[in-house]
């Protein structure tokens, strides 16, 4: 047993020490800042992607995820923004999570319009869900209710809270939000338990509960519907609600040199095509919608405009 442990620790030491000094970018390890705790959705996504990124970048360097949780993702975003633009610190952005505080005029030490965008990994559409045994069968049923509909969400200013506000205001449904749930799995549990009527859940969280019949989808925002029973933004006559989704974007500090940006963008797009990563996405029900830097930049400004018109609903 003792021998086994020793081999293990030697192996661990070797894996860290093995790196030479090649010329040109990248010649040292790259850090990916994750603004959430280890174990969360953004964290596992980046960690599953990192090995591919190492393969698709020249030179034998490591891509090291670094968790900087805190202040609802703002701490991580600030850290990326303030780093040296040398391509050795990049990070993942939770959109619109870090955009909303900026529109609320909360002092932030980052400015999303100046970030050097590298690409988009994927997005999570919002599912309008009710309990499996709910009498509500469609959004029309919901709007015909003679009372205000109750929803669950995390705190005011969070993406789920803002999305719930926007959907109901736009569709003219009277509503109340029960706030304070911890995370999307928190109010998912509340929905299954029957604390409230409905909730806007991200698809990756909702998927296995939709399959088990614990909850039922009435509508989907941020993606087209493939199910005739589930309405999408277009069906509801509110196509702009297609903007409602959580997007995982990769970015680097402002003024990143163009050649490094291109190198990172290409490695990112290539690693998202890797078989291994695809299999992981498939088994965990995670999404991938690769997009390049230009598309990502356009999406950021479109998203900013969209949320800006609902400014009064943000908090």
């Amino acid at each position: 047993m003792r021998v086994g442990v020793r081999t293990l620790s030697i192996a661990a030491l070797l894996s860290i020490g093995a790196c030479s000094e090649p010329a040109g970018y990248p010649n040292k390890d790259i850090t990916i800042v994750i603004p959430f705790n280890s174990g969360g959705g953004f964290d596992t996504y980046v960690r599953a992607l990192a090995p591919g990124l190492e393969r698709h970048l020249p030179n034998a360097i490591n891509v090291l995820p670094k968790n900087l949780p805190g202040a609802g993702g703002r701490r991580g975003a600030s850290e990326i923004f303030r780093s040296k633009p040398d391509g050795y610190t990049i990070g993942i952005f939770n959109m619109p999570g870090v955009l909303i505080p900026q529109l609320q005029n909360i002092p932030t030490s980052y400015e999303l319009s100046q970030v050097t965008w590298l690409g988009t990994l994927g997005y999570d559409p919002y599912i309008y869900a009710v309990r499996g045994d709910s009498p509500l069968k469609s959004i029309e049923d919901v709007s015909e209710l003679q009372r205000s509909v109750t929803y669950g969400a995390t705190g005011p200013g969070s993406t789920s809270y803002v999305a719930t506000n926007i959907v109901n205001e736009r569709l003219g449904i009277p509503y109340e939000i029960i706030t304070g749930y911890t995370g999307s799995s928190g109010y998912l549990l509340g929905l299954v338990r029957g604390d409230f009527d409905a909730a806007l859940l991200s698809q990756s969280v909702a998927r296995s509960y939709l399959e088990s019949g614990d909850i039922r989808a009435l509508a989907i925002f941020g993606s087209e519907s493939s199910d005739p029973d589930v309405a999408d933004a277009d069906d509801l006559g509110a196509p702009e609600l297609g903007q409602l989704r959580v997007v995982r974007m990769m970015g680097a500090p402002p003024d990143l040199p163009e050649d490094i940006r291109i190198m990172l963008e290409e490695a990112l797009l290539a690693s998202m095509q890797d078989q291994e990563f695809r299999v992981w996405l498939e088994t965990t029900g995670n999404d991938v919608h690769p997009a390049g830097a230009a598309e990502t930049e356009a999406a950021v400004s479109e998203m900013t405009q969209f949320y800006d018109q609902f400014k009064q609903l943000l908090d």
Binding site: G70, G155, G180, G183, L189, R193, T284
Partner: protein, 502 residues
């Protein structure tokens, strides 16, 4: 189910898997011993490594860590009064006085049996209720969370040993501190003074490291001397009597294990509360509660049996809903997802064998940790003979490094040191720290549970007695109030009669 369980056992007992299990146990012990580090940090560091491993290997290692940190954490709690991990803080209360009286070996012996026994109890319970996991998790909604939090605060505040009034003051201050940061119900930011650090509230682990470990080290560096009164005190005899004591107090073990499993299963309440409640209920149920805190072995056995049982409980919401029952479980959740397992309704059906493997790893690791821990304890106990003048600054330095390693926030260092000074002052001026800690952990849960219940019921107070679970909780709260008032009243009455007679 039995054949899958056997298959899982066979998988776990293969030589390769055993290496990972033992590796996990050793990492767990080391991370457990160092204040500030703990299971969460160990798992977070392990997380990237597990990506390339086989599922069973990753689970063996994670299980090894989770089963072993408790033992490590309690060793430093007993020897130094500086809990290595948050849930071991309760073990300080009677474990350290035992060490001062030269009974460190006995206390550690009790840990070595109580903690795997608790673990075993938790695992058996988990195996029994696994098919019901979903329903159990659904029993707890906002009103129940509120009541559990109140129960925790009441139980612990009422058992503050020397001075109930000061216990309540400390609890009140803990509550006030727990409201710092973002208000998830109303959206305001309270008492953060514009700082992003305080936006997240006062973090538990740095706070505990400060209030217990650093406070004790500041005291030691002021008073000088060694932890144990003299060299003869650490002659390690009595391990066996400690081992036996656990079996003699089997009722305490069972109460502690039940408390651990139950409280562990409630997300957001977690392990530290479980061990504190196990300690407090054992103290309150004892015929001589005032003797607790001066080295009663039951005061070690109770929190220790809860300390390992809680992991099994915490697995329930983690697996069934992807809601981590504790901070460690949050990281473990990531290991699950990295291996392609999505927690949720289907996980028990899809990955039954892997889950059995994990459960078995948890059990074996607790036993292994005890054996390894006991064989090293002789050397570790020598720490209590090091001069405080040297030991204290070193422990302070190492805990500060550990605290920073958690989340890489410089603010954590400052917070731990500030609360270290506060903890020392509380020690010196005789204000109990326990109620402060419990209120700090549970204050926000209580407030949120209350506000959400009121929103759900639209202001109807009936919601707090609406479900059988909440009725049980209300009864428990009333009982734990009564339990501490009855002896007090009886004493008053007796004194009154005596006064009248004289």
């Amino acid at each position: 189910m039995p054949e899958l369980l056997l298959q899982a056992a066979a998988g776990l007992l293969s030589p390769e898997t055993l290496i990972f299990l033992v590796g996990g146990v050793i990492i767990g012990l080391v991370f457990g011993v160092i204040p500030g580090l703990g299971g969460t940090t160990a798992l977070a560091l392990l997380l990237p490594l597990t990506f390339g491993m086989e599922v069973m290997h990753a689970f063996a290692m994670a299980g090894g860590i989770m089963g072993a940190v408790a033992m490590g954490g309690s060793i430093s709690a007993i020897l130094l009064n500086a809990p290595g991990t948050a849930p071991s803080a309760a073990t300080c209360l009677d474990g350290h006085p035992m060490a001062k009286q030269g009974h460190a070996a006995e206390a550690i012996g009790a840990v070595a049996t109580a903690s795997p026994l608790g673990g075993l109890f938790g695992v058996l319970t988990l195996l029994l209720v696994l098919p019901l996991a979903r329903d159990i998790v659904l029993l707890f909604g906002p009103p129940e969370f509120f009541l559990v939090a109140v129960f925790g605060i009441v139980t612990v505040a009422m058992s503050a040993s020397s001075n109930t009034l000061r216990g309540l003051v400390a609890g009140g201050i803990g509550l006030m501190l727990s409201f710092v940061g973002y208000d998830t119900v109303h959206g305001g930011v309270r008492y953060a003074f514009g700082s992003d650090y305080l936006w997240d509230g006062i973090p538990l682990i740095p706070a505990l490291v400060g209030l217990f470990g650093m406070a004790e080290m500041i005291r030691l560096s002021i008073e000088g001397g060694t932890v144990a009164a003299d060299a003869s005190a650490v002659r390690l005899q009595g391990v066996a009597s400690g081992l036996r004591a656990t079996f003699r107090h089997w009722k305490v073990v069972i109460r502690g294990s039940i408390t651990g499993t139950l409280i562990g299963a409630i997300p957001g309440v977690g392990g530290t509360v479980a061990t504190f409640i196990a300690y407090s209920t054992t103290r309150n149920a004892d015929r001589d509660p005032d003797s607790f805190g001066s080295g009663r072995i039951e005061g070690v056995i109770a929190p220790e049996s809860a300390n390992n049982a809680k992991d099994s409980g915490a697995l329930l919401p983690t697996l069934a809903f992807g809601i981590p029952g504790s901070a460690e479980m949050a990281v473990f959740l990531g290991i699950l997802v990295l291996h392609g397992m999505q927690p949720g309704p289907a996980i028990f059906a899809d990955h039954e064998q892997d889950i059995y493997g994990l459960i078995l790893a948890l059990t074996f690791s607790a036993i292994l940790a005890s054996i390894i821990g006991l064989s090293f304890v002789r050397w570790l106990a020598a720490i209590t003979l090091v001069k405080g003048e040297i030991l204290a600054p070193i422990v302070i330095a190492v805990s500060l490094v550990g605290v920073f390693a958690m989340q890489l926030r410089p603010g954590d260092i400052v917070l731990a040191a500030t609360l270290g000074v506060l903890g020392y002052l509380m020690l010196r001026f005789d204000y109990p720290r326990l109620p402060l800690v419990i209120a700090l952990i549970l204050g926000e849960t209580a407030e949120r549970g209350f506000q959400q219940s009121m929103m759900i019921s639209r202001g109807e107070w009936g919601i707090f007695v609406h479900s059988p679970t909440s009725v049980v909780l209300v009864v428990l709260i009333v009982l734990s109030f009564g339990w501490s008032f009855v002896p007090m009243l009886r004493k008053r009455l007796a004194a009154g009669i005596a006064g009248a007679a004289s």
